[in-house]
């Protein structure tokens, strides 16, 4: 059982984020490619959510009163698998099959995988389901909270704003949006301007904090600042894709990273070195 009732220190969470990055690098290294840049970028947020916010028993995945984390960006699945492996839900043997033919851990997340709450990949599907879950849990008198990760690219989907409108209109205290703004999308740097992100969420009736999404102290402080506020809450996380591995960060801010086989050892060393 993962004890997440105790809030962890910035130092502890930073260490966990590093372990998540290490797991992601190993999964991608075996394949030579993947959505590793995005995964590395949100590792800090995932560590903070899963190890300091979520009330969640990894041995009771069907607990109806569990807090839920919804990954709306299905292609970030590598990051979620790293979390689930770190929690002991997935084994190392399983994560080694990431994105292989016939694997239960596909490159885009399916809810058949233990610990994965929704099938995502068609973007703009996460927040609305989070709204429905938060409504349904409130109706049942459950204390559970729903955290929805989504990306800056998904802010271009109209469905995201339909859902954002509903969340505040329904006064959903138990809903959080964790918006990963990494500045890239499939065709390169943001092809459609979606700023000012924080102002948009605020205008839709959400309580908002904006942080450097690769600064654990800022992330932890944002959760603390918003916790207990009425209505839905959003944290805008400005992240750097590939954070933790300078060579990946430098690689043309890539949406889909391909790395030559010989390079992985060097990149893994970079990750350890960078962590210090």
């Amino acid at each position: 059982m993962t004890d997440t009732t105790t809030r962890r220190s910035v130092a502890e969470l930073t260490e966990i984020a590093h372990r998540l990055r290490r797991r992601m690098m190993r999964m991608a290294a075996d394949k030579g490619e993947g959505y590793i840049a995005q995964g590395l970028g949100i590792a800090d947020m995932l560590a903070a959510v899963y190890w300091s916010e979520l009330r969640f028993d990894a041995e009771r995945l069907d607990d109806p009163d569990r807090d839920r984390f919804l990954l709306s960006t299905g292609h970030y699945s590598i990051a979620l698998y790293a979390v689930l492996a770190e929690l002991g839900v997935l084994t190392d043997e399983e994560t080694a099959t990431y994105a292989l033919n016939g694997s239960d851990l596909p490159m885009s997340a399916f809810d058949e995988t233990p610990g994965v709450e929704i099938t995502s990949g068609s973007l703009g599907h996460g927040l609305g389901q989070g709204v429905g879950m938060a409504l349904g849990l409130r109706l049942k008198g459950s204390p559970a909270t729903v955290y929805v990760e989504l990306s800056d690219g998904e802010l271009q989907e109209g469905s995201t704003w339909e859902s954002a409108m509903a969340a505040s209109s329904f006064g959903l205290d138990g809903l959080w949006a964790l918006v990963d703004c990494n500045g890239i999308q499939a065709d390169g740097p943001m092809v459609m301007d979606i700023e000012s992100v924080a102002a948009k969420w605020s205008a839709f009736g959400w309580s908002v904090e904006e942080v450097n999404g690769n600064d654990m102290a800022e992330i932890v402080a944002a959760f603390a600042a918003l916790r207990g506020k009425p209505g839905p809450k959003a944290i805008i996380l400005r992240t750097t894709p590939g954070w933790g591995v300078p060579t990946i960060v430098a690689r043309d801010r890539a949406h889909f990273v391909r790395v030559h086989e010989d390079e992985w050892t060097k990149l893994l060393a970079e990750l350890e070195e960078n962590h210090g």
């Binding site: 929704i118 068609s122 879950m133 339909e162 859902s163």
Partner: protein, 327 residues
């Protein structure tokens, strides 16, 4: 000359009928089920009034959610409600769901086998507002999505039973919802069962295979054909998916010729299913498909549109008795 009512009003209600009817069978049935199913919830997208879900809202206001004009969100919210243990009925016009929110029905609902029951209002040619409001292709679209049960009920009696069956059966459903004063055609002894067709009448010359309220017209047309000396059997197929292949083949084996009748495009719905099924089983025989052509349809009252585009009882009768079997 056919007398036409010069009226294109009526928000998606079927044409007024002379016989018995029930008001708002969907919402009434849902409100009744809500008493014993506390996890039943309702969702609409600013179409509560025009989808007949209001009896449920009035009985259980805290279990009813109106998301405004946002069909994608309506489906996502229903999926979210289902994924925390509720059974969610979503009701608005079919066109807005099957055209605008298809991806969300496919992935947020069907892919997860979520307990979302989509009530598609104003199906087929029912709506007077023309191509923008008429869901002519909804059955074809929805039956192409894996893991969706697709049902087109005949009348108020069947619609109520379908709502109950959908509420009690896990998974994602698409149900055509006819609203307002809904005719009662089938008697109290009728029993709907998911995936089962029903022989409503036996004959010898021609078999009609029909779905939705076209079955009521098929029964009427069969009476008229009998007067003309043609003996007609009627197979009612409320469940489009999963399709009752066995039931169809048994029925078809007794008739040299078939007519299919649906309030839908001739392509992609019941007629297509019947032809595919017969052909696959090497039981091909002459089939006349009654349904709508590949075009957008104009505004107009349902009587007017039915006659103009061949969904009325006269058109079915003509297919049964006329010498159209040579080509």
């Amino acid at each position: 000359m056919v007398e036409l009512k010069n009226r294109a009003g009526g928000m998606g209600e079927v044409a007024e009928v002379a016989g018995p009817y029930e008001v708002a069978p969907f919402g009434t049935a849902l409100a009744e089920l809500g008493k014993t199913m506390p996890h039943l919830v309702g969702v609409t997208a600013d179409m509560g009034r025009y989808s007949d879900i209001l009896p449920f809202r009035d009985a259980f206001p805290d279990r009813f959610f109106n998301v405004g004009m946002a069909e994608q969100d309506a489906i996502m919210v229903a999926a979210g409600l289902a994924k925390v243990g509720h059974v969610a009925f979503v009701a608005t016009y079919s066109v807005f769901l099957t055209r605008r929110a298809l991806d969300f029905m496919a992935i947020a609902c069907a892919h997860s086998k979520a307990d979302v029951k989509v009530m598609g209002g104003s199906p087929g040619l029912v709506n007077p507002y023309g191509g923008t409001h008429q869901a002519l292709e909804d059955l074809a679209v929805m039956r192409m999505i894996p893991d969706v049960t697709v049902i087109d009920p005949c009348d108020a009696t069947e619609l109520k039973q379908v709502v109950k069956a959908a509420a009690e059966t896990p998974g994602t459903f698409y149900i055509r919802n006819i609203r307002g004063k809904v005719p009662v055609t089938l008697d109290d002894s009728y029993r709907f069962e998911i995936g089962k067709s029903r022989v409503l009448r036996e004959g010898t010359d021609v078999g009609i295979v029909s779905t939705g309220f076209m079955t009521a017209r098929a029964l009427e047309a069969a009476d008229r054909a009998a007067e003309a000396g043609v003996s007609v059997g009627v197979l009612h197929v409320p469940t489009i998916k999963p399709f009752d292949t066995k039931g169809l083949l048994e029925f078809a084996s007794r008739y040299p010729r078939l007519v299919t009748a649906e309030n839908h495009l001739r392509a992609g719905g019941l007629g297509t299913l019947v032809v595919e099924t017969l052909f696959d089983a090497a039981e091909a025989r002459p089939v006349i498909r009654i349904g709508l052509r590949d075009r957008f349809h104009p505004c107009g009252s349902q009587d007017y549109l039915d006659r103009m585009f061949g969904l009325d009882t006269d058109s079915i009768t003509e297919a049964l008795v006329a010498d159209r079997w040579d080509h």
